[in-house]
Amino acid sequence: MAERKQIQMFLVTCLVLLTLAGGTLFGGGSAESDEEPTIRFAVAMDPARLKLYEAAVEEFNASDRGFTVVLENTPWSEYWQKLQTQTASGTMPDVWNYVPGFGQEWLENGLLLPIDQYVEASDMDLADFIPGMLDFMRYEGNLYGLPYDMSGHILFFNKELFDQAGLDYPTEEWTFADVRAAAETIVSEVESVEGERVYGFGNYMNSSWSSAGYYKSFGGDFVTPDLEVEIDSQGSIDALQYFVDLRNDGLAPPPTEAGIGDTAGGQFITWLTGRSAMILDGPWAIPTYVDTVEFDFDVVPVPAGPAQRAPSLLGGTFVIDKDTDYPQEAFEFLAFITSESQLETIVAESGAGIPGRQSAFDKMTPLMEKAANYIMQTNQAFYPVRGSFAIFDKQNSEFELIFNGEKSVEEGLTAVAAFARNVVRENYGE
C-alpha cells in the first residue's frame, strides 16, 4: 500500500515537472506580444569593429524610434553555418550581414526581402552607393540589400626591401611579369632579415572569391554569367601556374607561411616579419599592418596579367530576411546603418575598410583612400553562383595539394572544374 502511494506520488511529480518543462519550452514566446518590436541584427565582425557596431546600435536605440535593435555577433568562421541552421529552423535574424557569393543561396532561393518599395518611399540616394556593390544585390529586377563596405585585393610592398635591393617601387602600370622580376632581384640581392631568409613574394592567390580575378587576368575565369565553368581553361591554369612557379623557384615561402588554405587576410608570416617584399591582400588588413609591422610599406593596384588587369571586387552588405515580422522597421534600421554618417564612423574613420558610400570616402585615412581609388578603378565584380561556397572549398583543397607539389596545376584545376560543373548542374539544371 505504502509502495503504491510512493509510485503514485512519483508519477504525479514527473507529470508536473514535464508540464512545467513543456510550458517553458513551447509557451515562452507568447508573452512578448505587448512589448516593443525587436529587430535582430546579425553581424560577423572582429572585436575592434564590433565595438563600433555596438555603439551604432546604442545610438539608434537611444533615438527612440518605437522599436529596439538587438545586435548578434558570430565569429566569421562560424557565421555561415549559424545562418544555415537558423534558416532551417526558421529563426533568421531580421537584418543580417551578407557577402556576395557566400550568401547566393539566400538571394536566389527567395529568402531575402526586396527593398525597392522602401527605397522609393524614402529619400535614399542609391547613386551614392558603390555601383558594383549595388549590382551584386540586384536579382531578377529587384534590389535586396545595401553595401556597407567594398573590398578587393591590392599589392602591398615593403619599401625597405626594395631599397635594399636597389629597385624602384612598384607602380600602377606593373604587370605580374614585373612582380616576378622584382622578386628574383630581391631574393638574390637581400640575403636575410634578422638571420631569416627573404622572399620576393609573401603569399599565393587564394581559393576564394579573389581567384576569379586572377584567372581573368591571365585569360581564364571562374564561372561566367552564362554558367560556363572556366576554372580548367588555359588562362586559369596559367594564372595558378604563375604562383606555383614563384613557390617552386624559391621566390615565395612554404604554403603554411603563405596563408594557403586561409581566406584572404590569413597568416602571412613572412610579410608580418618583414621577410617578404610583396603580398596581395585587401584594405581590411591596412589597420593591422599599420599597427603591427615594423617596416615602411605602401600599396599599388594588383598588377595586370597577360590578358587584362581584373582583380575581383567584393564587399559586405546588409539584407533583410523575407519573413521578418517588421519589414518597415528593418528597412529603417538598414537605412540608418548604411547611412553616410554611420559608414563614415564605422568604416571610414576607423580604418576598417572602404565604405560602401562614396560620400564617406573623404573620412578615410590617406592610405585607405588610395586603396579605395585603386579598387574602384581596376576591380571587377566576380559572378557569384549558388554553390560558390562549395566550389571555393573544393578549390581550396586542390590548391593545397597543388602548392604542396602533390598534384599538377592542370590536374588540380581539372578536379575543381569537374566539381564546379556538377554543382552548377545541380543548382541550375543542364
Binding site: P255, E257, F389, N404
Partner: protein
Amino acid sequence: MAARTRLTPYVFLIPSAIFFLAFTFWPILQGLALTTFEWNLFKSPEFVGFKNWNALIERGDFGHSLWVTGKIVLLAVPSIVVLGIAVAVMVDRVGRGKIFYRSVFFAPVIASPVAMSFVMRAMFREESGVINFFLGFFSIPNVEWLASSTGAVSAVVMFFVWQATGNSMLIFLAGLQGIPTALYESANIDGARPSQTFFRITLPMLSPATFFVLIIQTVNSLQIFAHIYTLTRGGPGYATTAMVPLIHQTAFVQYNMGLAATYSVVLFVLILIVTLLQWHNQRRWVFYG
C-alpha cells in the same frame, strides 16, 4: 506484490526514457529518414529513394575519409593507452607533488581545442615553429607538419593524443589505486623484477581500466572533429578529412543534408560494430579479479 516490485525500477526510468526518446532516439530516426531525401536547407526536402546511398558508393570521398579515420584511430588509441599507463604509473610513484603532476597532465583535457589549435599551428610551422626548432638540435631537417599529408595526420594525432592522455591517466590512476598491495608484496618476496611485476601484475590488474579507455578513446577518435577542423580544416588537400569533417563539409559547405545524414548513419553503424567487437573480445584479456 512481486509484479509491483519488478515494475518499480522501470517506473523510475520513465523520465530518462522520455528524454532519450525525444532528444536522442527520435532524431536518430529522423536522420535515418533523411538519408532518403535531398535537402539543401533552403527548399523543402525532396524524396529521392536510395540516391544518397548510391552516391555514397560512387563518390570516392567516403572511402578516403574512412581510410583517414582508420589511420587516426590506429595511431591515436594505442598511443593514448600506452602514454596514459606510463604517466599514471609515474604519477602514482612520485613521492611529493602528486596533485601538482596530476593537474599538469590533466590540464590539456580541460583546454579548449579551438584555443589550443592556435598554439599548435604556431608550433607546427615549418620554418618558424618550435617543434622543428627542437628537432634541429638533433640535426633533423624541418618537417612539413601541416603542409604534407603524412605530417598533417601526425600533427592531428599528436594534438589529439596530447589532449586525451590526461583523461586516460586519471582512469589508470584510479585503477592503480585498486590493485591490492599484497600482490606486489608477494611478488617482491618471490624476487620478481620490476618489469615482471609490471607485466604480470600491474597490466593484468589494469585490464578493466584499459578496456574502458580503449572503448572510450576508440569512439572518440572515430568521431574526431574539433582537432582537425581547427588545425588543418581537413587538409592539406584531403589528407585529414576524416569521417566527421566530411559529414560537416557535406552538410554545411555543400548543403547536402541527405548525403551527410547517410554518412552519419554509416559512421554510427561502424562505431557500433567496433564497440561490439571490443566487448566480445574482452573475455580473452580483461581480468576482473
